[in-house]
């Protein structure tokens, strides 16, 4: 039985790594001076960030009139970017929390960076509603605090207020989850740091971690609890984002399919972004042994699954528009597919529904270059999905005399570019100062799929590591063996 299991379980980590090598590999990334590739990448992303800063400064100094919005199209790039970035974040939580609860152990090599991605994406997302306020310095009015205006309280019946609480909670819990997951690794970095500044910083944040099993036991409990809390949280966040639309009476928005449709789309787009980042990190940081074909395969399957849900949602929307007999609803959907924004709609359908179907083939799922290209196309498609939902539902409303068109201005494009700049700059800095792979979790899955030693106690002659032809031994063998010679007493 045991041999059969060992045969069936393929290794999660390549290269027959030992725990010490994992420490050396991952911590070593932070010791070396960054190469030209990293400098090139950060120069590029920081320039994008600069474009964003300039655009935001001009926007705040001048007003929201610098955007291409008009009386009919009151939401466009801003909310598109907001929903897009929040959606990106969701895959991080899926990998760190939901796959943890489902005991998908391949997640160990990608969860740290996916969680970092979540945090940076939520920061990018949060900027857009704040900038949309026009007076971002008033953003704190969203907090219900006693004030001199009455006290005038916020309207707890408004989905926009729900959204504020959802994003705030999501950001905080993601940050806490990420940090808690990192404490043991920070201790590892602390214990091998050479420079004084580094040791002081890692010591500060590793909280005096000493690897005691009593602490580990509580730690695992806390991690499970946080995963259990984050799972419904992540579903609630995009559900609430979809309510920003669904509680209105705009045709194309006012549908009950929105919450599941948005959650599936969020995880779909986020998973594509995780793949994009992972495949770049794999090449530039030489993580080939940690991010393997197996990870690529598993994440591609998640892409097909969530992409399939999105595809079904697109069809359901059309069918319900037809079946409802509501002429406004029908008009909006025909206008989406054939109207002035048809190009955006068909970009969305091809990138999100048609192209991902290639992933049904194993040869494609296991080809790093092809999956990388598909992941970028899905990112594009999912951005257009939000654009299509928002703009096509608004630009031709109930009164034909109100109809108008929407063209983004340079400021809006600058902010979109800037948000990507912020995201990639933050991610590049993260990859320089913090461990990109969860070392302690990877060490705990090294044995999977390797012949020989099982997990719980296993055979006494457990050196049966890689290539040991003997395979797993009977677990009940008595314990007598000669002491090793190099024992130092």
């Amino acid at each position: 039985m045991a041999d059969v299991l060992a045969f069936l379980r393929r290794p999660l980590i390549g290269g027959e790594k030992q725990p010490g090598e994992v420490t050396a590999d991952i911590s070593g990334l932070l010791d070396r001076r960054p190469g030209p590739l990293w400098w090139g990448a950060i120069t590029f992303s920081a320039s994008m960030l600069l474009i964003g800063v300039v655009s935001a400064t001009y926007l705040v100094a001048t007003g929201v009139g610098t955007w291409g919005l008009n009386n009919t199209v009151g939401w466009a790039f801003d909310i598109t970017n907001f929903v897009f970035w929040i959606g990106i974040g969701h895959a991080g939580t899926l990998i760190s929390a939901i796959l943890f609860l489902l005991r998908q152990r391949w997640r160990t090599s990608v969860n740290r960076s996916a969680e970092a991605m979540t945090i940076f994406a939520v920061i990018c997302a949060g900027l857009f509603p704040v900038l949309h306020m026009g007076r971002p310095w008033m953003a704190y009015w969203m907090i219900p605090y006693p004030n001199f205006r009455g006290s005038l309280w916020i309207n707890f019946r408004s989905p926009l207020v729900w959204d504020f609480f959802a994003i705030l909670t999501y950001f905080t819990i993601s940050l806490v989850f990420w940090y808690v997951g990192m404490v043991p690794d920070l201790a590892t970095l602390r214990d091998r740091a050479k420079s004084k500044v580094r040791r002081w910083l890692y010591n500060l944040f590793s909280l005096g971690w000493d690897g005691s099993t009593r602490t580990w036991l509580r730690y695992e409990t806390v991690y499970t609890l946080l995963a259990g809390l984050a799972t419904p949280l992540v579903l609630s966040v995009h559900t609430i984002v979809s309510w920003d639309f669904a509680t209105s009476v705009i045709p194309g928005w006012h549908t009950t399919i929105f919450p599941p449709y948005f959650v599936a789309g969020a995880i779909f787009s986020g998973m594509a972004m995780v793949l994009t980042l992972m495949l770049i990190a794999r090449k530039t940081m030489h993580l080939e042994h940690y991010i393997t074909v197996r990870h690529l395969d598993a994440m591609s399957k998640l892409l097909i699954f969530t992409g399939g849900m999105v595809g079904v949602a697109y069809m359901t929307e059309f069918f319900i528009a037809l079946y409802s007999g509501n002429q406004f609803e029908q008009f909006v959907f025909i206008n989406r597919a054939l109207g002035p924004f048809a190009w955006a709609y068909w970009t969305m359908v091809s990138c999100n529904v048609l192209i991902p179907q290639l992933l049904w083939f194993r040869t494609i799922r296991q080809n790093f270059t092809v999956v990388f290209i598909i992941s970028i196309l899905i990112n594009v498609g999912m951005w257009f999905e939000r654009f299509v939902i928002i703009v096509t539902s608004l630009h031709r409303d109930y009164l034909p005399s109100n109809w108008s068109h929407y063209v983004p201005t340079l400021v809006e494009i600058g902010l979109l570019v800037g948000s990507f700049g912020l995201f990639f700059t933050a991610f590049l800095l993260f990859s320089r100062y913090l461990p990109v792979v969860s070392m302690n979790e990877v060490k705990s899955v090294l044995h999977i799929g390797r012949g020989g030693q099982g997990r719980n106690g296993g055979g006494p002659d457990g050196r049966g590591g890689p290539g040991d032809p003997s395979g797993p031994r009977d677990q009940q063998t008595p314990t007598g063996r000669k002491p090793r010679e190099e024992v130092t007493v």
């Binding site: 219900p144 006290s151 009593r214 609430i240 719980n456 314990t479």
Partner: protein, 175 residues
């Protein structure tokens, strides 16, 4: 707890697990085991019970949700009622999303704070590592030399028989 302890350093997870089980079966007092990652089954081998932290999460989540529902009713019904689109004052369904978010926030953050307090994880605290490589790739078993029946020489031999690569005796304050 006495001030003498025997420390065995292992290179392999399964050697450690077998040693812990064997020492516990013989009635030795295991002070603690230090590992670079959470070794599954080690808590059971050491006879540690389940953590009661889930109760903390549950109760604090309940408190957070309860306070939030109260606050929403107080602000929208009592302190300054505002008629929004003719909705009833008692609009509990509309209060559900924020209540849920606040429950998760309070439960999650406070669980972590309670964990830090219980495990004495304090920012900047100097860690006294039992072995310099315990956060890297070494597993360390610390046995308490409790009573007269503790035979250091026998324990040392036994540790070595479980492939301990280094055995030492420590006298003095607990690490």
């Amino acid at each position: 707890m006495s001030d003498r302890r025997m420390i065995g350093v292992f290179a392999e997870e399964h050697d450690l697990l077998r040693a812990v089980k064997a020492f516990r079966a013989r009635g030795h007092s295991i002070e603690d085991v230090f590992t670079p990652y959470f070794v599954h089954g080690l808590d059971k081998a050491m006879g540690l019970g389940r953590s009661r932290l889930p109760w903390v999460t549950f109760l604090l989540g309940l408190v957070g949700a309860g306070l939030k529902v109260y606050f929403e009713y107080w602000t929208t019904m009592i302190d300054w009622p505002i008629n929004v689109g003719g909705k009833p004052w008692d609009s509990l369904p509309a209060f559900v999303p924020v209540t849920f978010e606040v429950m998760v926030l309070v439960a999650g953050v406070s669980t972590v704070l309670v964990f830090f307090a219980l495990a004495k994880l304090i920012p900047g605290r100097k860690s006294k590592l039992v072995h310099p490589r315990v956060t890297d790739d070494r597993f360390v078993l610390v046995l308490d030399e409790t009573d007269a029946a503790f035979d250091p020489e026998q324990v040392r031999r036994m540790l070595i028989s479980f492939n301990a690569e280094n055995v030492s005796e420590q006298i003095g304050e607990a690490a």
